[in-house]
């Protein structure tokens, strides 16, 4: 007779999050669904740099200076670090409203606007005027059932509301929002510098090696094939230069004015009859400082929190955390390896809120230190 061992499969909140995101490493990594172009970005950067380090650097380090590959390596590592941070972190997703909250807000809306008869569509955009000291217009998001904070926008690709939404970047495979804008900016900046660097030294390499070969009166087959690779790198760098450097310039402009791409495209602050950007400090330096070095809010999506399970022993809440317990993203999370029967019921603990849907605790992204046990008791509430 076989005994059914009900081994608990740990189900974490990321598995039940609404929206069209992919999660990796048991919730530590968060990306958009389409990742193809991101892989292309990785391939281009890694491939070009590999070629550069393998071939040109060896020659240039000897002929000119060993500092050349060192500096290139620093730039490369910084670009990769910021790219991965941009791609893998939570851009500032606003969790969807829980049913109670959504109902409460709808009641308030109906009280203000009057009940919409059944079958009729409600007015397209419901704006809430909050008059405390000034009039602030908020838009209501029908998908997330919340009033969006100012500067937030709903990304249709990821199906999430994102705070300080800039744009959805397919090259990094993620939205760019409040929490990862600085990483994105530093990525395109360091990539620009890296591209210019490689481009310059490839030209130098070609010039030098042609001069040497010309002096010797011949161009050996070996150096010919190397030159082909060099020319390939130069081409990639050339096309990258035009796009990435231009993009960096554009975002530098945005940062200096404390605007988002979204606002720029919509023309929120330009035009005669429009309000001037209220978020700008009027001072370029101050704007840059705030956008790039300002305080970094932690994620409010608790991706790795444990959903409440039927067995009461599982009520410890979120996974144990502590200083320095961040594993590198490549590691497999514990939940993935488990098999067996999962007796999971996403129950509604009486009398309070259901945490089956819309979990929204704070969350750690790879590399961020978790706040220990802030949500330890959360699962049971």
């Amino acid at each position: 007779m076989s005994v059914m061992v009900a081994r608990k499969k740990v189900v974490r909140k990321w598995e039940k999050l609404p929206g069209r995101n992919t999660f990796c490493c048991d919730g530590r990594i968060m990306m958009a669904r389409q990742k193809g172009i991101f892989y292309l970005t990785l391939f281009l950067i890694l491939g070009t740099c590999a070629l550069f380090f393998a071939f040109e650097c060896r020659y240039l380090a000897v002929q000119l200076s060993p500092a050349i590959p060192v500096f290139a390596a620093v730039l490369f590592l910084f670009a990769m670090a910021t790219l991965l941070r941009t791609s893998f972190s939570d851009p500032g997703v606003i969790p969807r409203a829980l049913p109670d909250e959504a109902a409460f807000i709808e009641m308030e809306i109906e009280a203000t606007n009057g009940t919409v008869p059944q079958g009729q569509r409600p007015p397209p955009r419901i704006k809430n005027f909050q008059i405390n000291n000034q009039i602030v217009k908020l838009k209501y998001c029908y998908t997330c059932k919340i009033f969006r904070p100012p500067r937030a926008s709903h990304c249709s690709i990821c199906d999430n509301c994102v705070e300080r939404f800039d744009h959805h970047c397919p090259w990094v495979g993620n939205c760019v929002g409040k929490r990862n804008y600085r990483y994105f900016y530093l990525f395109i900046l360091s990539l620009s510098l890296l591209t210019i660097y490689i481009f310059t030294f490839n030209i130098v390499y070609i010039a030098l090696s042609k001069a040497v070969a010309g002096g010797l009166g011949l161009l050996s087959g070996h150096s010919q094939s190397l030159t082909v690779l060099t020319v390939l790198e130069v081409l990639i760098c050339f096309f990258t230069l035009w796009s990435v450097v231009g993009l960096t310039g554009f975002h530098t402009f945005l940062v200096a004015l404390n605007q988002t791409t979204n606002e720029d495209i919509k023309g929120s602050w330009t035009g005669k009859n429009r309000v001037q950007n209220p978020y700008s400090h009027g001072n370029i330096v101050k704007n840059c400082c705030e956008v790039l070095c300002g305080p970094l809010p932690p994620s409010v999506l608790d991706r790795r929190g444990i959903l409440q399970q039927e067995e009461s022993t599982a009520q410890e809440g979120s996974c144990p955390r502590g200083p320095g317990t961040q594993e590198p993203p490549a590691m497999q999370g514990p939940g993935q390896a488990q098999e067996g029967h999962s007796v999971l019921s996403l129950q509604v603990p009486v009398p309070t809120v259901s945490n089956a849907e819309m979990p929204e605790e704070k969350q750690r992204t790879p590399g961020e230190l978790p706040v220990p046990s802030l949500d330890a008791g959360r699962a049971e509430l």
């Binding site: 990483y183 300002g294 970094l296 932690p298 999506l301 009398p351 949500d375 509430l381």
Partner: protein
């Protein structure tokens, strides 16, 4: 500590949830995290206006401190950038430190002020920083007296409403 654990958990189990009030964000000062101090009418009979406003104002103060742009935040930002943000593997950000303080404060408030009145504050962090959720429980004679009796001593016990250990 144990009687206090029971007070809040008892509240949840024995009292029945009557309704919830959601205190919304106040965006008049921009995108910084602030909550409206307007007193919800549903709490009229349950708690003094001044206590409620005090709580919200203190919370607003905490959030303002977390998001304060100044010398120390710039230093933190620049240092983090210089280390390609690897420093966050071993260091807690200023924001996270303040969030911990907030969590403790809310727990404290729940123990001292809100639970005895049959109310429960939920940390806004657990609601995506959108609202302060206040759960209103119906008064039942038995739980009412026991919870008010055992919650007199302070210090945050476990199982507090807003989580935390």
């Amino acid at each position: 500590p144990l009687p206090q654990v029971h007070s809040l958990q008892e509240l949840r189990r024995s009292a029945s949830l009557a309704t919830k009030v959601f205190v919304q964000r106040d965006y008049s000062d921009g995108t910084t995290c602030q909550f409206q101090t307007k007193f919800p009418p549903e709490l009229e009979s349950r708690i003094e206006r001044q206590l409620f406003e005090e709580t919200v104002k203190t919370l607003n103060g905490f959030y303002a401190e977390a998001e304060k742009i100044g010398g120390s935040s710039y230093l933190e930002g620049c240092l983090a950038c210089a280390t390609a943000y690897f420093i966050f593997l071993c260091m807690e950000t200023h924001y996270e430190k303040v969030l911990k303080k907030i969590s403790k404060y809310i727990q404290d408030q729940n123990e001292k002020i809100y639970a005895p009145r049959g109310l429960l504050l939920t940390d806004p962090l657990e609601r995506g920083m959108r609202v302060i959720e206040i759960s209103i429980y119906e008064d039942r004679c038995s739980s009412g007296s026991s919870s008010s009796g055992s919650s007199s001593s302070s210090s945050g016990g476990g199982g507090g409403g807003a989580g935390g250990r």
